[in-house]
Symmetry: C2
Subunit: 339 residues, 2 copies
DNA sequence: CCACTAATTACAAACGTTTGCAATGAAGGT
DNA sequence: ACCTTCATTGCAAACGTTTGTAATTAGTGG
């Protein structure tokens, strides 16, 4: 026994002197097989710790019961919540999940997507990376009639369901909160403007300023390359030197904290001199001093919804979905805007 | 054409009026097939964007060229570096990677491990979760002669290669640094003591105290349930109230920061009144004020080494490896111990 | 023009499953 | 004693590949 590694249905059939089909049926509780036989098979299967070979099953059924996730980063509280949402929905519907982290690299995204295109997964959930501008790899996926759902950073050129946050609304709310706090000179510091999500957050900012009758000052607007801490520190240097702003909407909590650090170093007090709103509700925002007002990002819900749409498509290939689902952000008030 | 989704070798054979074996050989550049045929096949393959079916290949070759990772958390700077190390080594050796995050749950770990046991992966890299005390699922894996390598949180009961950090040495170094800084009343706050890594860090702490001739005070020693921020805040409350300590070694940067926050609130100054050393070198340690002295955790190297050992075993199944590889930590000095 | 080799190609088995259909056997009714 | 019926089982195909071996074709030399 145990020729290679695992026991197969064939081994059991051989030992019992019956055919593989009977073994297969017995294990499936098929009433066609005589109770005595069934029991004998099951006992032997348990004894040898038989587990059906995943690959053989996949080939036979032409489905892997696995969904793929293409995501730019893992160490990211938002993405991690998305993954959790996806996993929870997938597991409870009998699906497994394989995650590919592209590390925001276009090349990696292409490689990873193509690695999943050949029958490895039944469908794909994708969040495109910052550096992606060509979507052929996703198109190839879609052309093979493989279900595909985008979330967060989507690709407009492809006709598949999408789950997004209303970043415009969120940007608007964040800025409006600063207005209500009494700010009149409100700066914007955001992530790469080639991403739709950042265009939207910025758009919401502009609308709020406009509605409040506040002027848009170009020197108070920075679109950063990465959206991380160092970018944040850099971005506000000029504004701080000029002592010109009294409010800041940052497209990322890390940007916000980077900016706050620069301002604190320059002797500005937060929120007294400058009120700050971040984005994403990272846990560091509760730990940092001052704690950070921010916009929530319902990652778990986004993941769940995306998984739901994908699995719907997998189970129902003929019915094409193309809806876009929009989730909403909420303001979380903390010290950084508490005047 | 395109009956189901993807083009198969059979479709190409049919269209060209030749046999599947010829097509297969043509695609593999086998010199047996006539150049003209080979070219025709390749052209058609490119035209239809043919990609060999992953599942069929796996079944045929009895290998998936995929390695599995079982890891307690994703949103964790250390684990994420480990994953990167694994991925980089795996990719450059032609392997793919499947990540399963157990969220520190024993049940999830069992499910995930069993999901990988049936020929889905060629081998497994595992870091056992905090809540795991029974290792049968890993044993079953090993009994099937499937290559298995543990990293960081290992399982001693199983005879497979392991890659670990010298947590004892690191705990010793951290504590000794506090001694050198001039601390004489040094507290320890660490994660769950059922984990070997925490026992080791604690062991290093005790050794350093011992060598310095400092007494071990039970009321200065806390083993926390989770090792997160809130645990940190809680853990030092009594010590702070008693104004009894002048140094703290925390088994986690989050514990350290939680503790610092409590101390700051109580009016203590860091590092003047209490010097603090954390563990893991999380990025928040550079952002927080004061910035945090900590012990590095070479996650990338750990991942690389673990992947290397695993792939060695996969490619060389007869040669059993059982070595334990030990990596070393380094002290990173920042403000929290700068007197 | 036949035989012998060399160059191509096709056939079939195998990987581990499931499942439609055929086959076997026994039992029951007449 | 024979036909029917039912319960149980086995055979074979299929999923998409690769590969050893057999078969076909072409080419060469006599």
């Amino acid at each position: 026994m145990m020729k290679k590694g695992s026991v197969t249905i064939k081994d059991i059939a051989l030992e019992l002197g019956i055919s593989v089909s009977t073994v297969s049926r017995a294990l499936a509780d098929n009433p066609l097989v005589k109770p005595a036989t069934r029991q004998a098979v099951k006992e032997l299967a348990k004894k040898y710790n038989y587990r059906p070979n995943f690959t053989a099953l996949s080939l036979r059924n032409n489905r892997t019961r696995t969904i793929g996730i293409i995501i730019p980063q893992l160490v990211h509280e938002f993405f991690s919540m998305v993954i959790r949402g996806i996993e929870d929905f997938a597991y409870s519907n009998g699906y497994n999940v394989i995650i590919s982290s592209t590390h925001e690299s276009y090349e990696r995204e292409v490689i990873d997507t193509k690695a999943l295109i050949n029958g490895r997964v039944d469908g794909l959930l994708a969040c495109v990376s910052k550096s992606t501008t060509n979507y052929d790899h996703f198109k190839e996926f879609a052309e093979r009639n493989l279900p595909l759902v985008f979330f967060d950073c989507i690709c407009d050129e492809i006709d598949s369901p999408k789950v997004v946050l209303d970043d415009f609304e969120a940007g608007y709310q964040a800025t409006q909160h600063l207005v209500e706090t009494g700010c009149t000179q409100i700066a914007y510091v955001g992530g790469p403007i080639n991403l739709q999500i950042n265009q939207d957050r910025f758009g919401g900012y502009k609308k709020a300023l406009n509605e409040a009758g506040l002027a848009l000052n170009e020197s108070w607007i920075k679109h950063c390359e990465t959206g991380d801490y160092d970018d944040g520190s850099e971005s506000v240097r000029d504004m701080v030197a000029a002592r010109s702003i009294d409010g800041l909407f940052a497209g990322t909590d890390m940007l916000a904290i980077g900016a706050i650090k620069t301002m604190k170093k320059a002797g500005l007090q937060i929120p007294k001199d400058v009120a700050v709103v971040g984005f994403s509700n990272w846990s560091i925002g509760t730990i940092y001093e001052p704690s950070l007002t921010t916009m929530s990002q319902p990652g778990y819900e986004m993941g769940q919804k995306a998984a739901e749409l994908l699995i719907q498509q997998i189970d129902n290939p003929d019915k094409k979905l193309t809806d876009t689902f929009t989730l909403h952000s909420e303001l979380i008030q903390r010290e950084s805007t508490q005047r």
